[in-house]
């Protein structure tokens, strides 16, 4: 393996300083980063291990009713926190539909947000990839691309962001707390990931040294708990990335949608918030027609980037289904097959 330094800073400030240098990266659970290093895709000079930093593994309700999730909270711990799952059921369901139990036990909140694309050409160092090697070209464009983006892509990159967790988070207006060289700041999760444009190598707005310390769900996010679902279509029942996914959350008052939240996964380089679709639902009855119209709006502007036109139609159908499920009400328990179209079938023990 390439030789690299490994440092384990004691404080957030030290971590930021250690990671600000060229060639340094943060190491959380490493479930993505170490794979990339073994494949020669990432060749960092220095790993800054943040897993021992104090105070980043807490789930706390703040005075204003918002929820603060430390960047080191494990995906599984968050999903299995009963209070969390009750208040943000779609987020818990999304977490449990991701990866495998072993990976979820290890993976952290911060790492999940910043996991890299699963584009096969990005992972294959013999292929040209603008994200891995800026300016080299994009072999996915005319290659095996049935899983690639249908929204927000550019000629220079058609990759998608693979996270499930991020999809309901972005729907619920999650905020990311960042500690950087200039101190602490926060941005909307929707602003964290960049669309590729001309510079697909710049995946986020983070600057060198920026450490995600927490993700915050605003007070209003709780208001959707009664009608919130995540739905993920995939090519096996578990342990597969989304072909397309959707998070739908509704606030229903007097038989009308007071507020709707909708986001799509697996369709773009970022979790895709569908605000236009949310707008058409505001104030109307939660009917099949309204959901169809919302689906149409959500996919406006979508276009295939290769052999993936089916994803557009599939995304429309998922939107309708996710909204329908959300309108029907959050189930009392997270299904044994979370976020699966088969969630309602009996007999499943686990995923």
């Amino acid at each position: 393996m390439k030789q690299f330094d490994y440092v384990r800073p004691a404080t957030v400030t030290e971590a930021v300083a250690a990671a600000a240098q060229p060639g340094a990266v943060f190491l959380a659970a490493g479930t993505n980063l170490l794979d990339l290093m073994k494949g020669g895709v990432s060749r960092p000079d220095r790993l800054v291990d943040v897993t021992h930093l104090d105070g980043l593994d807490r789930i706390e309700t703040l005075a204003d009713g918002s929820l603060r999730i430390g960047a080191l909270v494990r995906n599984a711990d968050l999903a299995h926190d009963a209070e969390f799952a009750r208040s943000y059921p779609a987020v818990a369901e999304a977490l449990l539909s991701g990866a495998s139990a072993q990976l979820r036990n290890a993976a952290t909140v911060g790492g999940n947000l910043l996991q890299r694309t699963r584009c096969a050409y990005f992972y294959d160092t013999a292929s040209r990839c603008n994200k891995r090697e800026p300016g080299s070209g994009c072999d996915a464009r005319d290659g095996e691309n049935r899983g690639h983006a249908v929204l927000g892509w550019s000629e220079s990159c058609i990759a998608t962001h693979p996270s499930d967790f991020c999809v309901p988070l972005v729907a619920l207006d999650a905020v990311v707390e960042i500690e950087g060289r200039g101190g602490r700041r926060e941005i909307a999760l929707d602003e964290l990931h960049r669309l590729p444009g001309e510079a697909p190598e710049r995946e986020t707005v983070l600057e060198p040294g920026d450490l995600i310390v927490a993700v915050r769900l605003p007070t209003a996010a709780r208001g959707f708990a009664a009608h919130a679902r995540y739905l993920k279509v995939r090519e096996r029942t578990s342990y597969a990335f989304a072909v397309v996914s959707a998070a739908a959350a509704l606030r229903i008052e007097n038989g009308k949608v007071a507020q709707a939240r909708l986001a799509l996964g697996g369709v773009a380089a970022k979790p895709w918030r569908a605000r236009a679709a949310e707008d058409v639902l505001r104030g109307v009855a939660p009917t099949a027609d309204a959901f169809q119209e919302a689906a149409r709006r959500a996919l406006e502007g979508a276009k295939p980037s290769g052999d993936n036109a089916f994803k557009i139609e599939l995304a429309r159908r998922i939107v309708v289904r996710a909204l329908t499920l959300a309108a029907a009400g959050t189930p009392a328990r997270i299904p044994a097959l979370p976020a699966s179209p088969f969630a309602s079938t009996s007999g499943a023990i686990h995923a």
């Binding site: 390439k2 020669g40 096969a120 013999a126 290659g143 279509v233 090519e235 096996r236 342990y239």
Partner: protein, 753 residues
């Protein structure tokens, strides 16, 4: 090798016979406690680590390697390249027998496929060797690769599979089709698939002067030994291979592969023991795979739904430098009684590693196409798929007219259908929904696999203390040879299994033949059975010719061996223990050898196959197209069942593989570069637990007096056949959409809402 502590606890229930008992794996505790030593677990003193650098192009030449950079890396010891390597005794391109496949062992700079080994870096640590390999930064002269089923001019291979004719005819297919009342003409495609055994190919090679000690997983100890001997020009007796456990093989560990040869070469080059283990992605090239196929089936039926003709053509691929042809169309030889059958193959050459045997080679690919086509034909005739199959039931092997040595397929259909509840199936597709509104479909397929026999030898001995020994260089790939063969061995010498020392898994033992073709239990079992009989015969001679023995005069045929005693057949009160017989004769040990092989006369006379019927239920989301198998029942008739627990596991595994074939597995090849883009277990999908429904296996009783002395047919591969088609047919029955390209993808089902 340290003695293996095999367990037979929990104490099994026995009724006087070891064969037929559902013993748990005797190596199970070793495995779950991590004490089972797989090849890569061996670390002889002074061992170095070798890592292959592999080609990122599929066709061309390596023009440079930065050997200096690799060597400069700390702890790198040497770099083996075409210019710097030990000489082999023979040209590795030479095909010295039909079971020799060409391998890449740095004989030139030519690149014939992606992931071909192009250099080996040897270092003090795995990490240093890995980095050294990365530092080689190869430069290539690249030629446009040949990729896919239409890569070039097609040709008719001389043979397919293992020496099968490329074409077979019975009657006049065109006339049969012309005269048909109804016809179907359909094209099915199956993708390239890779074995993906859990344990990667590995070798620890240790030269001691001109002696060679090898630890590696192999399904063919003696075949591998012979290949090593000829490649390195050393006598067989100087080579010792240990392969006590394999973490799966599925055909990919049948023959010595290039990477394992490179491990031996590396050890020779540096004069120290070397370990070489493939990374997962390196298994997608030099160790074989299942070739893709495109199969056209034309079937005709008369007004009653009886077949008038069956035409099955398969296009497949081989590598640019060697020949192996997936005999997919041969699947149509045995199952359905058509008066006219034609099977044929053609192929194109592509830049891949040579395709090889992969669990049910030809049978699996052919079965999914045939069983889909039969389903389509049944529907065209307006007949229930089971009724249609029964109408066309083959009473004799259609292609040859030979009677079957045994065939309990009707019972499989009956028992499977009853257990599944098939009678309630509506004929029309898209009729059933569950409470949640999901589409439900039921499909079936017929399973079949030939009952093969290879050649094996075993040595049996009875010791002075009355215990027994059975020695055979057999292979436990996880299927349970340590247990099932020991059961046969114990019965063969009339001993409790705990009184028998069963030795296996190394090359110094008698040749057990290859563990392939679902024939290992039958072949090795037959050798064990005859060695046991021979040693008991000798013991009986000793006793019955000794005046002092209570068995004196009983004659050779007149005793029974049971629980460590010889007993007079005509008077069970007269018996003597093995220990007593040997003690009196003053013999420390008495031994005999036995062999197992096919009986050519019986093979001439009878068609020998195992059979089965698989029924599957799937659910499909009507709008989203995601599929899930929710129930499978398989009823199989495969002769004598040596260990029901292990047989059930084999059949489960096969059925899961069938599900995988229909819905999941495919290597995705970039058409421009010939590179495989999903060479890892995250993206090369196989079913996970959540995909596998409750499985129900029925073993249907079948006595076969012809296949071999024990009446054993194989169970290793048959489970895939039938199952893949059953799942595909169930998807059609659920949705009304007939998908003919496998695996079935979501987008194919989105056309209907």
């Amino acid at each position: 090798m340290p003695e293996l502590t095999l367990t037979s606890a929990p104490a099994h229930i026995r009724h006087g016979s070891n064969i037929g008992q559902p013993l748990t794996r005797r190596d199970g505790i070793l495995k779950v406690t991590g004490q089972a030593t797989y090849a890569a677990d061996n670390h002889p003193p002074g061992m170095l680590f070798a890592v292959m650098a592999t080609s990122s192009i599929a066709r061309g030449r390596v023009v440079s390697l930065d050997v200096a950079a690799a060597k400069r890396h700390p702890r790198v010891v040497d770099v083996m390249t075409p210019d710097h390597k030990p000489q082999l005794a023979i040209d590795p391109e030479l095909k010295t027998n039909p079971f020799v496949f060409r391998m890449e062992v740095l004989q030139s700079n030519e690149v014939r496929y992606a992931n071909q080994p192009i250099a080996v870096v040897i270092a003090e640590t795995q990490e240093a060797a890995t980095e050294g390999a990365a530092l080689l930064a190869p430069r290539y002269e690249t030629l446009p690769p040949l990729v896919g089923l239409d890569a070039g001019e097609s040709y008719m291979p001389p043979v397919v599979g293992v020496g099968n004719p490329t074409e077979n005819h019975l009657g006049d297919v065109e006339a049969g089709l012309a005269a048909a009342d109804k016809q179907i003409d359909a094209i099915y495609e199956t993708p390239p698939q890779y074995h993906n055994a859990m344990e990667p190919h590995a070798i620890v090679a240790h030269w001691d002067g001109d002696r060679l000690q090898i630890d590696m997983p192999t399904q063919g100890l003696m075949l591998s030994l012979a290949r090593v001997a000829e490649l390195f020009g050393i006598a067989h007796k100087k080579i010792h291979i240990r392969s006590p456990f394999l973490g799966g093989g599925f055909g990919s560990k049948g023959f010595l592969a290039g990477p394992q040869t490179l491990g031996i070469m590396a050890a020779k080059l540096v004069g120290r023991p070397v370990k070489l283990v493939l990374r997962r992605e390196q298994m997608y090239g030099p160790v074989g795979h299942r070739a893709p196929t495109r199969q056209r089936l034309r079937i005709g039926t008369d007004g009653e739904g009886r077949l008038t003709a069956l035409d099955h053509h398969a296009r497949t691929v081989s590598s640019t430098f060697d020949d192996f042809y997936e005999p997919a169309a041969d699947a149509s030889h045995t199952l359905y009684a058509a008066p006219a059958i034609r099977t044929s193959h053609d192929a194109v050459r592509v830049n891949t590693g040579t395709p090889l045997f992969m669990r049910a080679p030809g049978e699996a690919t052919g079965s999914i196409a045939l069983e889909s086509a039969i389903d389509e034909m049944a529907w065209a005739c307006g007949l229930d798929p089971l009724a249609f199959r029964l109408k066309n039931y083959a009473e004799v092997e259609p292609m040859t007219g030979r009677p079957f040595s045994s065939k309990a397929l009707r019972a499989c259909y009956e028992q499977g259908a009853a257990r599944f509840g098939w009678a309630k199936r509506p004929l029309q597709p898209r009729q059933m929904r569950d409470d949640a509104g999901l589409l439900v479909g039921w499909g079936m397929g017929t399973a079949t696999f030939p009952a093969l026999m290879f050649q094996a030898e075993a040595r049996a001995a009875i010791r002075r203390d009355g215990s027994g020994v059975m020695e055979i260089g057999a292979h436990d790939m996880g299927q349970g040879a340590w247990t099932a063969l020991a059961q046969i061995a114990a019965d063969s010498v009339g001993l409790d299994i705990d009184r028998l020392d069963f030795k296996s898994g190394t090359s110094d033992l008698p040749d057990a033949g290859i563990a392939g073709g679902s024939a290992h239990t039958a072949t090795a079992g037959a050798a064990i059975h005859s060695a046991g009989a021979a040693v008991i015969g000798k013991l009986a001679d000793l006793a019955t010719s000794d005046e002092r023995s209570p068995l004196f005069g009983a004659g050779n045929a007149g005793v029974i061996a049971r629980e460590g005693r010889l007993i007079r057949r005509d008077d069970e009160s007269r018996s003597e223990s093995y220990a007593e017989i040997l003690a009196r004769a003053g013999v420390a040990e008495i031994e005999a050898r036995g062999t197992g092989a096919a009986n050519p006369a019986a093979m001439e006379q009878y068609a020998m196959h195992a059979h089965g019927a698989v029924f599957a239920e799937v659910k499909v989301d009507p709008e989203l197209g995601q599929i899930r198998v929710t129930r499978m029942v398989g009823a199989f008739a495969a002769g004598r069942i040596v260990n029901p627990r292990m047989v059930q596991s084999q059949l489960f595994g096969g059925m899961i593989w069938g599900l995988s074939f229909a819905l999941h597995e495919a290597a995705i090849t970039d058409q421009r570069t010939g590179r495989i883009m999903n060479a890892n277990l995250g993206e090369y999908h196989i079913p996970v637990n959540a995909d596998v429904p409750p499985l129900d296996v029925i073993t249907v009783e079948e006595h076969d007096p012809h296949v071999n002395a024990l009446g054993i047919k194989g169970v290793g591969e048959i489970g895939i056949t039938g199952s893949a088609g059953a799942v595909a047919n169930a998807v059609w029955h659920a949705t009304g959409v007939r998908v003919r390209k496998f695996p079935i993808r979501i987008e194919e089902l989105l056309t209907q809402g």
